[in-house]
């Protein structure tokens, strides 16, 4: 999100789910939309049905390709090269929106200079897609009345994630596809309330509403509101925190509703870090792999057991309502936090969640007009500044949040974890339709759990033949971080040389293989590109 924030001044989805249907062309980059965000997948499929053009950029033949007009099966990790080549075509063919560039942006010359090196014929060699295809995609996107970009972790979870996002922003600004229905740059948020957790400043450098901890005025405002002094030192990101824990710098962790042992890169490293802690608190619904390492485990409440709000990927704040009571002594996380905070000497006393929202609205301008009463008649998209403001479906309509949009001159840098003779395959990880995240919830939902109960690694038929493996045969996938035994699913979805593994399964934890190499700005690990080796193996014994 750092990339978008730098280009536009705000890191959130610029447009709305509902207005994707107004696009004539939708460029989908690194998003397996129909599996990871099925309802947005429906919007895309509907658009395709109505004759809109969908262009998919993905090294893997995701299901959406069946509905797409064009599929650019690029080599993993080469998004920037492709996007630069597309922009080069747009410039060369006079398809850029000069007046938009002139009136609403800055830094264009820097981009122009960079693009000189990215002739489609040259880029074609890097990305494995013909120059003709690159041109067709560029022309389609640039000549549409309204063209939208949708992206997801296939863009951000790279060492060059921020660069890739900025490149997408460049493309949108170059063609003036911003601020109107059916345009924009639209990151899809993976979990239900990623957007909200960010808005609420569960980020080491921010205070609610993206105020900065290192900005004196911002901090002063919150010190006043909260009646206490605040640290001006940026905190550690999750991955940095794990490193620090392993180094002994961090000694205690309080983990609420997360399962880093399975979800974070380099599992061995995570376990080492957590085991080294003096004190670990885990608050969750189940005895997760992480909770098993804790000193204190606190039983939380599921989302159907509590009141509150979630903010979805299109910045829509919506009500969450208690449907059923929590089992046994399990308690809502809010109640647990307020009690612990009070014992820690910082008393919190909210009679119910609506009072928290009232406080949020007070200290967070973009949530300023949000109340539970208003949410009862439907969600509101922030910024929603006052109680009469009807929300903002499209950001940057008149001007960018930061004033002018900034073009970033982004160069393509190949992933550092390059394949070599020892690790000749690229492994990419992601989600599958019927499982969610670390499978904690989905494996415990009868029926759903039976649809995709075990992990498989997708192997291209040619690779499978060369390895001499068939469906359900076992192979060992190894990286510099570790090794995992997993069953094969022969599939023409991944490109030759590419493997795909879901990260849902504890029996075959994909993150045992991934590394913590990360984007220098956003600190997001490059989970989508890992060099690995593969060899057939025996089925592991079940006591495992």
């Amino acid at each position: 999100m750092a990339g978008l924030a730098a280009s536009f001044g705000s890191g959130a989805m610029t447009n709305s789910i509902g207005d994707l249907g107004m696009a004539d062309v939708i460029l989908v980059v690194g998003s397996n939309t129909t599996e990871a965000h099925p309802i947005i997948g429906i919007e895309l499929k509907r658009a395709a049905r109505l004759g809109k053009r969908i262009i998919v950029v993905d090294p893997r033949r995701i299901r959406l390709v069946d509905h797409a007009d064009q599929w650019l099966q690029i080599e993993a990790g080469t998004n920037v090269a492709l996007l630069n080549a597309m922009m080069r075509v747009i410039l060369d063919e006079g398809l850029a929106d000069e007046s938009f560039i002139e009136k609403r942006t800055e830094g264009f010359d820097g981009l122009r200079t960079v693009l000189a090196e990215y002739a489609p014929e040259i880029v074609s060699e890097i990305i494995g897609v013909s120059a003709q295809e690159i041109r067709a995609a560029a022309r389609a996107y640039a000549s549409a009345d309204a063209a939208a970009i949708v992206y997801c972790m296939g863009v951000t979870q790279h060492e060059s994630g921020t660069a890739q996002v900025r490149s997408l922003a460049n493309l949108a600004m170059l063609t003036g596809n911003m601020g109107r229905p059916g345009t924009g740059v639209n990151p899809l948020r993976g979990q239900n309330n990623v957007q909200g957790a960010c808005d609420m400043a569960c980020l080491p450098g921010n205070l609610p509403g993206y105020a900065r901890v290192d900005d004196d005025a911002d901090r002063a405002r919150f010190e006043k509101a909260w009646g206490t002094k605040l640290s001006s030192k940026c905190g550690l990101t999750l991955t940095e925190a794990m490193d620090a824990a392993a180094d002994g710098e961090v000694r205690a962790m309080y983990i609420m509703g997360e399962n880093p042992v399975l979800s974070d890169p380099d599992q061995a490293h995570v376990i080492e870090a957590l085991e080294k802690l003096d004190f670990l608190v885990v608050q969750d619904l189940f005895m997760t792999e992480t909770a098993a390492l804790a000193d204190v485990v606190l039983p939380g409440a599921a989302f159907v057991e509590k009141d509150g709000t979630f903010t979805n990927t299109e910045r829509r704040v919506q009500r969450v309502r208690a449907v059923v009571p929590s089992p046994g002594d399990a308690r809502s996380d809010l109640r647990i936090i307020t009690e612990i905070s009070s014992v820690l000497g910082y008393p919190m006393s909210y009679a119910d969640p609506s009072q928290v929202m009232a406080e949020i609205a007070e200290v967070t301008p973009s949530y300023g007009g949000i109340t539970y009463e208003r949410l009862d008649t439907g969600g509101l998209q922030w910024p929603c500044l006052t109680e009469t403001h009807s929300g903002t479906p499209i950001l940057h309509a008149e001007s960018f949040t930061r004033g002018r949009g900034v073009f970033a001159p982004v160069e393509y840098v190949p992933p550092s974890d390059t394949v070599d003779g020892e690790y000749p395959f690229v492994l990419t990880t992601g989600r599958e339709l019927w499982n969610f995240h670390t499978n904690t919830l989905t494996e415990r939902s009868a029926g759903l759990a039976d649809l995709n109960p075990v992990a498989h690694v997708e192997v291209n038929p040619i690779d499978a033949e060369r390895l001499g493996v068939c469906d359900d045969d076992w192979i060992e996938v190894s990286s510099r971080q570790g090794a995992v035994s997993v069953q094969v699913r022969v599939s023409d979805r991944p490109k030759r040389g590419l493997l795909f593994m879901p990260f849902h399964f504890r029996a075959a934890p994909a993150n045992r293989l991934t590394s913590t190499r990360r984007d220098p700005i956003a600190k997001i690990p490059g989970l989508k590109y890992n060099s690995v080796s593969v060899r057939p193996c025996e089925a592991p014994t079940t006591d495992g």
Partner: protein, 357 residues
């Protein structure tokens, strides 16, 4: 729907002057005006189809009895939605449907939410004067989630259409023709083999009990269930979902057609992924590690232990030796309180969550 053409169309429906949006159907106009016209094959998520013929109306100047769901409104239209002739026609349609429908309303989970039951009641059809051949097909339960009982199918095509038009999956098609026409998978394959994504959209649109959610079977009559609308807790789309529940247990999930980003649609996780809530693995009591083992404890003990553990580290290494990881699964209010606790209560900015994963 663009702003330059806001001129409403003037209609007369059952003698009342009505304004309607241009481009819509007579059925849309009736519904918007609160006039009830019975339908079976209509779903606002789908393109007009006109197969059940229940919504026949009279329109002055039009031949015969056009279906309200497929007739576009035009300025000056004079429409009659209700009279003896129309009731008679609709009654015949219902009688025909009942003549080939398994009437097991006593044990059908859809009883009370069945559109065929509703129209039969509305038109006073208690039995069909027609007898003859009926479909006899074994109920199918070859997959873990969706039951199919084609003896109850009224061949309205809604499942076929929603799978194609909305879900883009085309798992079903109408197969064979005439009296033998039924929705089915190719070669009657199981839903799993037919490429089903188990979104359950077909179940949600089925007007009768031909498609049903296995998990809901015998969990409660429709009228015993309570329902609560909330926001789905899986991915970032934020679908509006209505949970049906009875005695504190969730029995099923659906979505309202007219609200939310999802407008009645859900995915497999949203519709079928709520079993974990009542799973026996749920943690129901705080646990404290004693002698290397996690053992049950009271909340007071647990909270004291947390406070003590944190305080100990702060005292020894300072607040920056503490890290709080919040959750993208928790509510805004919880996350707000959490970071506030870490920042204001502990005194560090070491707070993050899994946004990067």
């Amino acid at each position: 729907m663009n702003d330059t053409n806001p001129i409403a169309v003037q209609l007369t429906i059952d003698g009342e002057p009505i304004q309607a949006a241009p481009g819509g159907t007579v059925l849309d106009a009736c519904r918007a005006a609160g006039i009830h016209v019975p339908t079976l094959c209509h779903d606002p998520r789908l393109e007009p189809y006109g197969a059940c013929r229940l919504c026949v109306v009279e329109v002055e100047g039009m031949r015969g009895y056009p279906a309200a769901c497929t007739t576009r409104v035009a300025d000056g239209m004079v429409i009659t939605t209700e009279n003896e002739v129309l009731r008679g026609l609709r009654r015949t349609v219902v009688e025909l449907l009942l003549s080939d429908h398994k009437l097991d309303c006593l044990t059908c989970d859809n009883a009370g939410a069945c559109a065929l039951q509703d129209v039969a009641y509305e038109l006073g059809v208690s039995e069909s004067p027609f007898e003859g051949e009926r479909h006899r097909a074994a109920a199918l339960d070859e997959n873990p989630l969706i039951d199919r009982d084609y003896d109850k199918c009224i061949s309205c095509g809604r499942c076929v259409r929603i799978c194609e038009e909305v879900q883009g999956c085309s798992v079903y098609s109408s197969t064979f023709r005439g009296f033998d026409m039924l929705p089915d998978t190719p070669f009657s394959a199981s839903l799993l083999d037919a490429g089903c994504e188990f979104c359950g959209q077909c179940v949600s649109t089925c007007p009768v009990g031909a498609l049903s959610n296995r998990g809901q079977r015998f969990t409660g009559r429709v009228w015993e269930l309570q329902s609560t609308e909330t926001t789905c807790g899986y991915c970032g789309v934020g679908c509006t979902v209505t949970f049906a529940h009875k005695d504190g247990v969730i029995t099923g999930a659906s979505a309202p057609l007219d609200r939310g980003v999802n407008r009645g649609n859900l995915c497999a996780k949203g519709r079928y992924g709520h079993g974990f809530v009542a799973h026996p693995d749920r943690l129901t009591t705080p646990l404290l590690r004693r002698d290397g083992k996690l053992e049950p404890a009271s909340w007071d003990e647990a909270i004291a232990a947390v406070a003590e553990g944190i305080r100990g580290v702060v005292e020894e290494k300072g607040p920056d030796a503490i890290v709080g990881l919040a959750s993208a699964k928790c509510t805004n209010e919880e996350n707000y309180a959490f970071q506030k606790m870490i920042r204001a209560g502990v005194g560090t900015n070491n707070v993050d969550h899994c946004a990067r994963l």
